[in-house]
């Protein structure tokens, strides 16, 4: 049993087990022990099973595809090629070209030629035929929902190192959070009095606990997220994308009696829908032009009409192996855009179809040079990115994530820091080979803006979870920026490490909230003595997020990922001096991150208690909550480390999509000079050292400033706030983004709606009313006829019948004996009459 059949089985099972848990809790939840207490065990057991299965798959994967160490000193050849960016095979048109003609893939191809690189589900994969940097990947379909024409909808898988890694990360964090939540949510085991809901009649809401429902939604969420990760085509991704969204809606609105919670849930859902609308446009562009949504190559059309050939997937269409995996506008998009020319060729009379098709095929490269289809590729990329913007809370659509903190803290930790919001980043990473430099630049700028805005807002937030929420948005900006500047590994590396320490931070904050029953940091302080485990693990999380470490020696996980982002940004800035601002945004962001994270830690744990009422109540959380903290803290420390050739970065390097090891050059929207440097260039000594030192310095500065203001009290925060009054107000009001959206979108929409309503009432209703009045008048005449003539006849008949009946009923006396007498009389009379009339013997 080969890996190509084992992996889909293992991961598919890991994917479906939470669904089973969901169904079980849905139907039997309230019957699982008192108040559904055992639902937690069911859900935890399910996700634990998933974790075990994922780890098994992971071990199998490592056995078959051992990762290799990244050779930092390997870049010489590339540098030489990179020196002349204009010299590529596709350089003629200058639109999109390969920077290095053909990468020496030895460094990044872990398995060399003997590894079954592309053992696709149909078994046709032949690794020996691919000398290029195609990563080991397996794809296939479990079930084909529909197949007809060019459309093939299926439930399938696309498994590469990234998939396996994400499975492990998601299931591990989810398991920790399930365990944590089974302690955190125990209030829901009995009647709950929600002090945040004021009823109209006065008093607070009393409601039964919803313990099983929480785990039910959590299980469904895990199922959706894993489905999103394993999905083999964009349609399936979209389905699970939406499922993730609806789970988020369930979980944010878990306390749906609170107006704030239900509003936040709706807000999150609607904002996500806006992004999904862009994604739909991207999907339509891809499908309309290319006719497939599968990532990988798949079997040809089944049935008699099938040609038996493999159908190319998105990746091989955009980066065909024949083209050295270099990015080019696919044929489908070219002919789609050049539809007028195609129609001219195909429409000529007397030309057979195959001749026309051959001519079209021959002329396609020329059209591609002429620039047909580039916009289509841009629209597709930006469209897909729109969905990621919504899901990952990037700049224009970032407003929902902080509000989503209305959900229970485990939800915040799992959904809104570690997994769901990471889905956007994951999708950009998965879709990376298809993205053109222009799209990448858009992504980078969106990431930068997000990173900066969120970081500044986090500076002044006082709600502990909101600080973390803005921090999340900011870190997601980091990732997007990293991907946008070409740092595929960097961005996804940060995604993984961030998942660990951000969930750790959220769980710690949950522990604090659980202890203090408040979110307001101004009421905390001095909790270090009361809850040491929480405090120290949170400190680990803070250090990890700011990228603490001894430069060039060792560091926490964030140290490695953030450094690589910084390095790639610096590399990009060097290649594109016009976009140096991106590098400065990253550097400034690092400073801000360090400041607000330690502001948080100091305000919460250090110093003296500010509110004794809170401090007296505080206590360390139960073991069931502390254990996940410790586990996650350990991972937050070690996640970035590499043991020989084994490390997350190496694994990601192994998963790098074919052809993306080289850089890209030339945009048609943002200028020809746009260059996206290859990622391994950032391992260059000068860039690397500069980036590391910058990161260290900014982080240290941030920590020091925070300590000065909140630990040592050298500078009064109030004074600083007063000193820059307008700026503070601006930040405290979150850049007035919500108000802006309200003014720009909500108010005009309402206005249009009112106009439409007035039109409805004033014009359309009038017309309808008039028609109705006319009809009523006619009906009145008809009714008169009915009542007078028709009813008169009927009533007369009835009256006649009635009076006859009344007269006849006297015959029915109800006297049995009288009836008997009548019968006898009748018989005698009948016999006598018959005897006289017939004149025959009665016995005849």
């Amino acid at each position: 049993m080969g890996l190509e059949s084992t992996l889909p089985m293992l991961l598919g099972l890991a994917w479906v087990v939470p669904l089973g848990s969901y169904v079980a809790i849905l139907f039997f939840g309230p019957r699982m022990g008192p108040h559904g207490r055992n639902a937690a065990w069911v859900a935890t057991a399910a996700i634990g099973t998933s974790l075990v299965l994922s780890l098994t798959a992971f071990a199998l994967w490592l056995g078959h595809h051992p990762p290799v160490a990244i050779d930092h000193g390997h870049g010489g050849a590339h540098t030489a090629v990179e020196a002349d960016p204009m010299d590529g095979p596709g350089a003629a048109g200058g639109a999109i070209r390969l920077v290095s003609a053909r990468a020496d893939t030895a460094a990044v191809d872990p398995g060399h030629a003997d590894a079954p690189h592309a053992a696709h589900a149909d078994g046709h994969g032949d690794g020996h035929g691919h000398a290029h940097a195609a990563p080991p990947a397996y794809a296939g379909d479990w079930y084909t929902l529909y197949e007809g024409g060019r459309l093939r909808l299926s439930i399938g898988w696309y498994i590469d190192t990234l998939t396996v890694l994400m499975f492990v990360v998601v299931t591990f964090i989810a398991t920790c959070i399930h365990v944590y939540a089974s302690g955190y949510m125990h209030d829901e085991l009995h009647e709950v009095t929600d002090h945040e809901v004021r009823l109209a009649a006065g008093g607070h809401l009393h409601r039964p606990g919803r313990f099983p429902r929480f785990f039910q939604a959590l299980s469904l969420f895990c199922f959706s997220m894993l489905g999103l990760v394993i999905a083999g085509n964009l349609a399936m991704v979209f389905v699970f994308w939406e499922l993730v969204g609806i789970c988020s809606w369930f979980l944010i609105g878990f306390y749906y009696e609170r107006p704030s919670a239900s509003t936040a849930a709706n807000k999150a859902f609607i904002v996500n829908r806006i992004g999904d609308f862009g994604m739909l446009i991207g999907l339509m562009a891809l499908w309309g032009a290319l006719g497939t949504l599968h990532f990988a190559d798949g079997p040809g059309q089944a049935g008699a009409g099938g040609d038996g050939q493999t159908r190319p997937g998105l990746f091989s269409l955009v980066r065909p192996a024949a083209h050295g995996h270099a990015l080019q506008v696919p044929d489908g998009m070219v002919t789609f855009a050049a539809s007028r020319e195609v129609a001219a060729i195909a429409g000529r009379p007397g030309v057979p179809a195959d001749v026309a098709a051959a001519e079209i095929a021959a002329r396609t490269p020329g059209w591609r040079e002429a620039g047909y289809g580039r916009w289509l590729l841009f629209v597709a990329g930006v469209g897909i990115f729109c969905g990621c913007v919504g899901k990952s809370a990037q700049f224009p659509l970032s407003v929902w994530l902080p509000d989503a903190m209305e959900g229970p803290t485990p939800v915040s930790a799992l959904v809104h820091s570690a997994t769901m919001v990471a889905a956007g980043v994951y999708l950009v990473g998965r879709f990376f080979p298809v993205l053109s430099p222009d799209v990448l630049l858009v992504i980078a700028y969106v990431g930068a803006i997000t990173l900066f805005i969120a970081a500044t807002i986090a500076l002044v937030a006082n709600d502990i979870k909101r600080v973390l929420a803005y921090s999340t948005v900011s870190q997601l900006g980091y990732m997007m920026l990293a991907l946008g500047v070409g740092g595929w590994v960097a961005g996804l590396f940060h995604l993984v490490t961030h998942a660990f320490f951000k969930s750790l931070l959220f769980l710690c904050s949950g522990s604090v909230i659980h202890a203090c029953h408040t979110n307001d940091m101004r009421k905390m302080g001095g909790l270090l003595k009361v809850m040491p485990w929480t405090a120290w693990t949170m400190l680990v999380g803070c250090l990890a997020i700011i990228g603490a470490g001894i430069p060039f020696v060792i560091g926490l996980s964030g140290y490695y990922s953030k450094d690589s982002i910084l390095a790639q940004a610096l590399s990009f800035a060097q290649a594109n001096p016009r976009h140096a601002i991106l590098y400065w945004a990253v550097a400034g962001g690092a400073f801000l991150t360090a400041f607000y994270m330690f502001r948080l830690w100091f305000m919460t744990f250090a110093g003296e208690p500010r509110d004794h009422h809170v401090a007296d109540h505080a206590h360390e959380s139960p073991n069931v909550m502390v254990a996940p903290l410790v586990a996650l803290a350990a991972l937050a420390v070690v996640a970035g480390w590499s043991l020989g050739s084994f490390g997350i970065a190496n694994l990601l390097e192994q998963a790098r999509p074919a052809g993306t090891a080289e850089g890209l050059a030339g945009g048609f929207v943002f200028g020809q000079s746009l260059v996206v440097p290859a990622e391994h260039l950032s391992h260059e000594g000068s860039i690397h050292v500069t980036a590391t030192l910058t990161a260290f310095t900014t982080a240290l500065a941030g920590v020091l400033v925070a300590a000065a203001m909140y630990l040592w009290r050298v500078v009064s925060p109030e004074a600083v706030a007063k000193a820059c009054g307008p700026a503070y107000t601006f930040l405290a009001n979150r850049w007035y983004l919500d108000e802006l959206y309200h003014a720009v979108f909500v108010v005009p929409t309402l206005g249009i709606a009112r106009l439409a309503s007035a039109n409805d009432r004033g014009v359309i209703d009038r017309i309808i009313d008039g028609v109705a009045r006319l009809a009523r008048g006619l009906a009145g005449i008809d009714a008169w006829i009915d009542r007078t003539i028709v009813d008169g006849v009927v009533n007369a008949t009835a009256a006649a019948t009635w009076s006859t009946g009344v007269r006849l009923k006297r015959l029915q006396t109800g006297r049995l004996r009288q009836y008997v007498a009548f019968i006898v009389l009748g018989t005698v009379v009948a016999a006598v009459v018959a005897g006289f009339l017939l004149r025959t013997s009665l016995a005849g």
């Binding site: 006849l808 009923k809 006297r810 015959l811 029915q812 006396t813 109800g814 006297r815 049995l816 004996r817 008997v820 007498a821 006898v824």
Partner: protein, 130 residues
């Protein structure tokens, strides 16, 4: 003495006089059946007690049965081939069985009526009168 016997003798097969002065044939049985039948009818018409009415019904059925049995026997009439044979006896058996069934149901109804009206007077059972 003779004056007393004369009307009896007129209908008596034993004395060989009158229309029935022969050995008993079908007609004799028919006469008995007719008397039973009429007695039953009169019983039904005069008894106010529901059970009396029931007994009248039984008498009526018996009168009919006598006729059936008489017509069934081939040796009670001159032309034996005109008898209805076993059919008559079978019908009589069925009538007896059905009469038992009818009596059971009628008694149940009577008991029900008694439970509801505390009487078995059929004249009081006129809830449905017009």
């Amino acid at each position: 003495m003779t004056a007393m016997i004369a009307p009896v003798a007129w209908v008596c097969p034993v004395f060989g006089l009158g229309p029935l002065g022969h050995p008993p044939g079908v007609s004799h049985y028919l006469v008995v059946g007719a008397i039973l039948f009429v007695c039953g009818v009169v019983c039904m018409a005069t008894k106010r007690n529901a059970l009396g009415v029931l007994m009248g019904i039984e008498l009526v059925l018996n009168g009919a049965n006598v006729n059936f049995v008489a017509f069934a026997s081939p040796w009670l009439q001159a032309d034996g081939a005109r008898s209805i044979g076993l059919d008559g006896q079978a019908i009589a058996v069925f009538v007896i069985v059905l009469a038992a069934a009818e009596a059971a149901v009628a008694l149940a109804i009577t008991l029900n009526f008694y439970n509801n009206h505390a009487t078995v007077d059929v004249d009081r059972a006129d809830d449905l009168k017009g």
